[in-house]
């Protein structure tokens, strides 16, 4: 059995391993949401946050491109209203809308035969259909991480693209090394999902995170 951490807990856990996230605030009410958005700067995104929520996009629990306080209030109200008991919702996350044409993914997975693995690939909602990923056994070294990027079928996406600068590969390598370190220092870490990892001005920024842990509280 396994359990997943909420988005906020997932991000806190991964931030400790150097994964770069956009700043965000957890709002319990529409007013708190509006205040947070003003502080962070518009446009923002609003996402329902809770321990039991995965695949937020598919369930319509993500609102993008909110440009003023009124829109934020409406979105927060609707998201709180859409929460189901099993979501264990703790509030709505407000974060600046990170813009970038390119969306990558990075994460960890546990293979039955090979144990913990580090993964990087083309991300976004099409990730599974595109299925362009590179995998290595954890722990990895910087050279492995660089070769993972080189291995991607669509590696040209890492170069200069549609007026945006090339991805700073060193920062991507750091994300992968951070994930690798997280895997080797946490034996109950089963999987990590950073999708999308948006390339903003050449820098990868994680805007979502899902951490899955082995459930060590199962009765013997």
């Amino acid at each position: 059995m396994s359990r997943t951490l909420s988005e906020a807990e997932s991000k806190a856990f991964l931030s400790a391993h150097g994964i770069p996230f956009a700043p965000e605030r957890l709002a319990a009410t529409p007013d708190e949401g509006a205040a947070a958005a003003t502080e962070l700067g518009f446009p923002v995104v609003a996402k329902l946050c809770g321990d039991g929520i995965a695949h937020k996009t598919e369930r319509g629990l993500v609102r993008l491109g909110l440009t003023d306080e009124a829109a934020v209030r409406v979105a927060v109200g609707e998201l709180l209203g859409a929460a189901m008991p099993q979501d264990d919702a703790t509030g709505v996350l407000i974060a600046p809308m990170i813009s970038g044409t390119r969306e990558l993914l990075a994460g960890l997975a546990t293979d039955e035969q090979f144990g913990p693995t580090v993964v990087v690939g083309i991300g976004g909602v099409l990730a599974e259909a595109v299925a362009d990923v590179a995998v290595r056994l954890a722990p990895i070294e910087a050279l492995d991480a660089e070769e993972m990027l080189e291995q991607l079928q669509h590696r040209e996406l890492l170069g200069p693209f549609r007026g945006e600068p090339a991805v700073e590969r060193g920062l991507l390598v750091d994300v992968l090394l951070g994930l690798s370190a997280a895997a080797t220092t946490n034996a109950d870490l089963l999987s990590v999902d950073l999708n999308p990892l948006i390339v903003h001005d050449g820098r990868p920024v994680a805007v979502d995170a899902l951490v899955e842990l082995a459930d060590t509280q199962v009765a013997p």
Binding site: S2, T4, A54, L105, A106, G107, L108, A109, T110, D111, Q113, F114, G115, T117, V119, G121, G123, A127, E128, A131, V133, A134, V135, R136, L137, I140, L143, D144, E147, M148, Q151, L190, S191, V192, D193, L194, N195, L210, E212
Partner: protein, 506 residues
């Protein structure tokens, strides 16, 4: 007991072999294996047991291993039924046998009882200090010992490729490719049920084996992935390892909470693990064999810049496409100084570009001179040479046609055949002199293997690729390994142009 060098020597270089369960019936394993042992030049002592004590294939058999003199046989090749094997192995060990190859079926591959019997077999061999190969395996081949202890053909030419396979059929496939191409095998073993000794254990032995330059393996399920990769990494540090894996596409989709989990399929994980340890992965049996054969017979390229040289147009264009399409190879832009130098050797109609297309402008000494010129250039890391054997193919038609007696026809036939042999020899010599790979491709290698072009490539110990695409694929594998070693500051182990690529007798 972890088998040591003594046990592996007993398996691959036995001073004597005893076939347990030799049969007078030519359809039985006990007949075929004794036959194959006798038919391929094995110089050690050959012994055999037979229940009736009948002579088999001229060998005076003994009724039981009890009658075997001590210390004459290192390897027992077991064709007896399961029930006989415990007693047999105990006596064998007492007589000094250190390795057992079991063809016997009905062990772990069958049922619950079989699995229990297999566990007992492993424990027994462990207790006796015997390396257990199989059970349910096809046999073992070792060309330095002229050993062909197997229940199937063929027996391959000698060379530097060490084969281990979870499936006996693929041992045969790789050896058949060896026979077809002339690129030889050092050792080959079918792991059978791999009860005690698995594919990676054999590969680990090959890594220390002076007779082996390249390891080639077929694997299916890998229960202990981490252990497998750990051992494989040590092998790959010592020599090139080519892996072909069955079941590559199964188990791709699995229930996972995350996108990452579902994208990290079994196959992608295995693939990444191989890249991480510097092993080479091949998707098909010919790609696997040709990658191994190329590692065994060509030097590693120091870079990825490829020059294509052809005597005729279309081949060069398509090969240039294949090089360009390859993710890691580069079709080198022809340097100006090299273009100027080539101008000295050819009339102006040549391509003046890469591919270097001679456009029929070559005379007697042009091809050896150009091979030397392009391979020696600093901007070129590898050469693919096309067009070998065309004139000899015509010569063959002349030689077998109705005008063969004509003196002029006979003279041109001899000239063409001499020239093609010379070109093939030049490709080899220039590769040795420059330390750069030169791969020759022609379907004549398959269509007319005795054409003096491809036949001479074979005689130099190298592979004549059946198509340029296959040469490009093989070269890509060499470059990927070279790059892996260079990036990690690992010296490329001496490969190619050594044992594999020397004049051959056959």
């Amino acid at each position: 007991m972890i088998p040591g060098l003594e046990q592996y020597r007993a398996l691959f270089e036995p001073r004597g072999v005893v076939v347990a369960g030799a049969s007078t019936h030519p359809g039985k394993f006990g007949f075929v294996s004794l036959h194959n042992l006798l038919a391929n030049g094995y110089q050690g002592g050959v012994y055999a047991t037979n229940r009736e004590g009948s002579a088999v294939l001229g060998v005076d058999t003994i009724r039981s291993l009890d009658e075997l003199p001590s210390g004459v046989a290192d390897l027992v090749f077991v064709c007896t039924p399961k029930a006989a094997n415990e007693e047999l192995l105990r006596v064998a060990a007492a007589k000094g046998v250190r390795a057992a190859f079991l063809t016997t079926a009905g062990y772990g591959e069958s049922d619950e009882q079989g699995r229990a019997d297999e566990a007992a077999l492993v424990a027994l061999c462990d207790e006796l200090g015997i390396l257990l190969a199989g059970p349910n395996g096809q046999g073992v081949v070792s060309t330095p010992a002229s050993l062909c202890a197997q229940i199937v053909a063929p027996y391959p030419p000698a060379g530097g490729i060490g084969v281990a396979s979870q499936s006996g059929n693929f041992v045969s496939s790789f050896m058949n490719w060896s026979c077809a191409t002339g690129v030889g095998i050092s050792r080959a073993v079918s792991a059978g049920n791999a009860a005690a000794t698995g594919v990676v254990d054999y590969l680990s032995f090959y890594a220390t084996d002076p007779a082996t330059d390249v390891a080639l393996a077929y694997v299916e399920g890998i229960p202990d992935g981490r252990g497998f990769i750990g051992s494989l990494a040590d092998v790959a540090a010592a020599m090139p390892v080519v892996i072909m894996k069955g079941g590559a596409t199964s188990g791709g989709a699995r229930a996972a909470a995350s996108h990452t989990g579902s994208l990290a399929s079994d196959d992608r994980t295995f693939d990444g693990a191989l890249r991480q340890c510097g092993a080479t992965r091949a998707a098909s049996v010919e790609e696997a064999f040709e990658a191994a054969a190329t590692f065994a017979t060509q030097p590693l390229p120091r870079g990825n810049r490829v020059l294509v040289m052809t005597t005729a147009g279309g081949w060069g264009v398509v090969t240039a496409d294949a090089v360009t399409r390859h993710r890691d190879l580069e079709l080198v832009e022809l340097p100006d100084d090299l273009r100027d130098q080539i101008d000295q050797h050819l009339p102006p109609r040549w391509s003046r570009n890469n591919p270097v297309d001679l456009a029929g402008g070559e005379t007697r000494d042009t091809i050896p001179a150009l091979l030397e010129l392009v391979a020696a250039h600093d901007a070129v890391d590898a050469v693919i040479y096309l067009g070998l054997g065309i004139q000899s193919n015509q010569a063959r038609m002349l030689r077998t046609g109705p005008f063969a007696q004509d003196a002029d026809v006979a003279r041109i036939v001899a000239y063409h055949e001499r020239q093609d042999a010379r070109y093939a020899r030049a490709a080899h010599d220039v590769s040795v002199a420059t330390g750069k790979p030169i791969l020759t491709a022609s379907e004549l290698a398959v269509a007319f293997p005795d054409n003096p072009g491809p036949a001479t490539v074979r005689a130099t110990g190298r592979l004549c690729y059946a198509s340029a695409d296959r040469a490009v694929a093989a070269l890509g594998h060499l470059w990927q390994r070279s790059r892996f070693l260079q990036r990690r500051g690992l010296a490329a182990p001496a490969s190619g142009s050594g044992r594999g690529a020397g004049p051959r007798d056959d």
